[in-house]
């Protein structure tokens, strides 16, 4: 399980499990796969987590493949089982969007559906016993393998920053530059007195700016934190003797079923809420 750089200790085991398969340009080794957290750190920004990307794209492609299959068979007559399943999820996403978002936007429904299903699938990987896939990967010569993409902060932040970009884009599109700027500068404190109003601008900008920046960060860190913590607990449980593991891992897994669905739902719901806020005039 462990490579040469890590001994088979408890902390080594945990560290190994929390290490991504990082591929990038190392200042000494050149273009290579990082061995250990230190080397990965040294690679800096221009490196990529092959395992996170592989699993997230695989799961995303699975989602698209499954739903495309459902969409191809979609009829307005009696639906088959796959169509039923797909329709339930589409209807769920559509319902959530309609509840919160009252504008007209063709993007937000598919966006919500993609987030809900994709994030759920990525979270679901957390329920695969922690050693199965990494052990298999080690057997075929891959030193590190983190199978839950949402325990990688890059993945969650990548998605939340995309959402953030959409928030900015729609804010500017719907309200215009001046409208968006006014929203940032003249709220929440305002006054009828012009001078006081002017004085409030920096305070408002600070508050609203922090609020705006906090959106993608909280969105990413909430999902990442929940899944990372869940994964860590599974790893810790895996350190116990095998005959007592089930006593802890089974209840935690059952509890985690709730967490993974809830986190996927929250990510979807908050995205809808943020985008509907971006569409609203004040």
């Amino acid at each position: 399980m462990a490579t040469d750089t890590e001994t088979l200790t408890a902390s080594g085991y945990i560290q190994h499990h929390l290490q991504n398969l990082t591929f990038g340009v190392h200042p000494e080794n050149g273009l290579s796969i990082a061995h250990g957290a230190k080397e990965a750190q040294e690679m800096g920004f221009w490196a990529i987590h092959l395992d996170s990307m592989f699993w997230s794209i695989l799961l995303g492609a699975f989602f698209i493949w499954l739903f495309k299959k459902g969409a191809e068979r979609a009829t307005s007559g009696v639906p088959g089982p796959l169509q039923n399943f797909v329709e339930i999820l589409v209807d769920f996403a559509d319902g959530s969007v309609k509840e919160t978002f009252h504008g007209k936007n063709d993007l937000i429904g598919p966006l919500a559906l993609t987030i809900a299903v994709w994030v759920f699938l990525m979270n679901l990987m957390d329920l695969v016993p922690v050693d199965w896939i990494p052990a298999l990967a080690t057997a075929i010569g891959i030193p590190y393998m983190k199978v839950v993409p949402t325990t990688d902060v890059n993945v969650t932040l990548g998605m939340s920053l995309s959402v953030f970009f959409l928030i900015i884009y729609y804010s500017l599109k719907i309200k215009g530059v001046s409208g968006f700027a006014a929203e940032l500068a003249l709220q929440p404190f305002s006054s009828d007195n012009k001078a006081v109003k002017f004085l409030f601008i920096p305070v408002n900008l600070l508050l609203e700016g922090v609020g705006l920046i906090a959106k993608p960060i909280s969105l990413a860190l909430r999902l990442f934190g929940n899944l990372y913590a869940g994964e860590l607990i599974f790893i810790l449980i895996a350190l116990l003797p095998f005959y007592v593991q089930w006593m802890l891992s089974v209840p935690w897994a059952i509890f985690h079923i709730l967490v993974i669905v809830l986190q996927a739902f929250i990510f979807m719901m908050l995205t809808i809420v943020y985008l509907s806020m971006a569409h609203e005039h004040h």
Binding site: M43, F45, H49, S56, G70, A71, L113
Partner: protein
């Protein structure tokens, strides 16, 4: 836990998946669902309309049935009246016919009586003549006494 290119890679794949979902997954499913909704709504509306029509038809049937019943009753009563009339007419006709036959029979009887009387008279004349011949034992010339005999016959 370092930020690196994975972030951008994830953002790109996210965008691709969302666009793909928006283009090829979402529209057919949503349109199929909307269509089915419309179909079901139409079906329900049709069913309601059908039910309404059925009720109307039932009402119409009841009305028609009532009409038919009253008409039938009317026809029956008319027929009864007519039959009574026919019976009465027949009775009348029979009575007059009977009367006529009776009168004719009486007339015939009277004629018969008159003829019988005539015959009887003639026979009595003959018998009387024969009786007289026997009594007188002599030949009576019927020719000579025709006048007397006729008078006798007329007297009887």
């Amino acid at each position: 836990m370092n930020l690196n290119l994975t972030l951008i890679g994830q953002a790109i794949s996210f965008a691709i998946f969302v666009v793909f979902c928006m283009k090829y997954v979402w529209p057919p499913i949503i349109s199929a669902m909307r269509e089915r909704q419309a179909k079901i709504a139409q079906g329900l509306a049709d069913a309601e309309q059908g039910e309404q029509r059925r009720a109307e038809a039932e009402q119409e049937i009841t009305g028609l049935l009532q009409d038919a019943k009253t008409q039938a009753a009317e026809i029956i009563s008319q027929a009864q009246k007519r039959s009574n009339e026919i019976v009465e007419e027949a009775k009348d006709a029979a009575r007059t016919e009977g009367d006529r036959i009776k009168v004719a029979a009486q007339a015939e009887i009277e004629q018969e009586v008159v003829r019988a009387k005539e015959d009887l008279r003639k026979q009595v004349g003959t018998i009387a003549l024969t009786g007289a011949e026997k009594i007188l034992n002599a030949e009576v010339n019927p020719k000579a006494h025709d006048k007397i005999l006729d008078e006798l016959i007329a007297q009887i």
